[in-house]
């Protein structure tokens, strides 16, 4: 497990943020969405504000549909634990343009009280991803390690599950001033921008 000061998810997001400018990004709801939004919203960011577990499936659908687009899923331990089969489906098709980041705070945080998930009692997302057949999987627990591993994943052009161990701590507020449907249509327009230009 982690030692010393535990990285904040917001610090990890900040380390990845510059590289997200050119990626299609799908985040889970709650703290992850709010903290990414707080760094600066972009039309290529989609906040999946419900449907826990399906962010990785959405990312797979986008990655298979737009091979020229780099797709980053910002998942969480609680979310991927609700859809573990998704690791096997991602691994089966292993799109080279998909990076699956899992922020692992070992807790269901956004409910208001910390409930430990199974990653807090010994289950390893990275080991499960590897066992599922995901070609690259690794765990990081420092900001520098996160920055480096994410850049390596971008350069690798191979399906990667990157588990980022973070503190069970959320933002001061969960405010996102983009309506879900506004976000949905903006993201769709971003993903189909070449087609719109051509049309």
């Amino acid at each position: 497990m982690t030692q010393g000061k535990v990285m904040l998810r917001s610090e990890a997001l900040e380390a990845m943020y510059p590289n997200l400018a050119s990626c299609a990004v799908v985040t889970i709801m709650g703290a992850t969405a709010s903290e990414l939004y707080a760094l600066g919203h972009r039309p290529n960011f989609f906040y999946l504000e419900h449907a826990m577990g399906l962010a990785s499936s959405m990312g797979l659908g986008i990655a298979l549909s737009r091979p020229e687009e780099t797709v980053v899923v910002l998942d969480g331990d609680g979310s991927i634990l609700m859809n573990l089969g998704s690791l096997t489906t991602m691994a089966r098709y292993r799109p080279s343009n998909l990076i699956h980041v899992v922020f692992d705070n070992e807790a269901l945080l956004s409910v208001g009280r910390t409930f430990t998930t199974a990653t807090g009692t010994g289950s390893s997302i990275a080991a499960m991803a590897e066992a599922a057949g995901v070609p690259r999987s690794t765990t990081v627990d420092t900001v520098e390690g996160c920055r480096q591993a994410f850049q390596e994943a971008l350069a690798a052009r191979e399906l990667t599950t990157l588990v980022v161990k973070v503190a069970a701590q959320g933002p001061a507020n969960y405010h996102i001033d983009v309506h879900m449907l506004e976000n949905r249509f903006e993201f769709q327009r971003y993903l189909t921008r070449d087609r719109l230009k051509a049309g």
Partner: protein, 170 residues
């Protein structure tokens, strides 16, 4: 195997004629020929799932990326997909074309299919998912086309129920 190859081909052709390019499926007996057709089709992306609800996410991603998709599932797969249908497809106004094999109706021999058969249509009504039955080869193309048209106009999930009369040759 008495699953109709001829009618499976008619259904598959109807999907392709509607521009469907990505198909997600969790295989089951009535869907075997459809899966085989998708596997052999170089112009379609077939996504084999571990559980049907994944297909909702995959179709949502495909739609936002500009690709028309269809989902093939058993009615028990519909039961396993409910939160995705409500909290992703309906909440975010995503069109889904769901082809659902209606197991557990009249003529069903397998006891384990019967409970699901009795709740499928009532469940779709409760979910406000418009649905139509596919029962005869003659109306397949038109109903598939019309289902997709409604899904895209309403930006909502729609369902086509694959019925025993169409899928099974006793």
């Amino acid at each position: 195997m008495p699953v109709s190859e001829t009618n499976s081909q008619i259904i598959y052709t109807a999907l392709k004629d509607c521009g469907v390019r990505l198909i997600s499926v969790l295989p089951e007996t009535w869907l075997v020929h459809l899966v085989t057709l998708a596997e052999a089709d170089a112009d379609a992306t077939l996504v084999r799932l571990a559980k049907e609800e994944e297909g909702i996410g995959i179709s949502a991603g495909a739609h936002l990326a500009g690709i028309s998709s269809a989902m093939l599932m058993q009615n028990h797969g519909l039961l396993a997909s409910l939160n995705g249908i409500v909290s992703l497809a309906q909440l975010y106004r995503i069109p889904l074309l769901m082809l659902i094999s209606l197991r557990g109706g009249f003529g069903e021999e397998h006891p384990w299919q019967t409970e699901g058969g009795m709740v499928t249509e009532a469940l779709l009504e409760t979910l406000r998912v418009p649905f139509e039955r596919l029962q005869a080869p003659g109306h397949v193309a038109q109903r598939v086309r019309e289902a997709q048209t409604l899904a895209n106009a309403a930006l909502r999930p729609v369902a086509l129920l694959l019925c025993r009369e169409l899928m099974w040759e006793d």
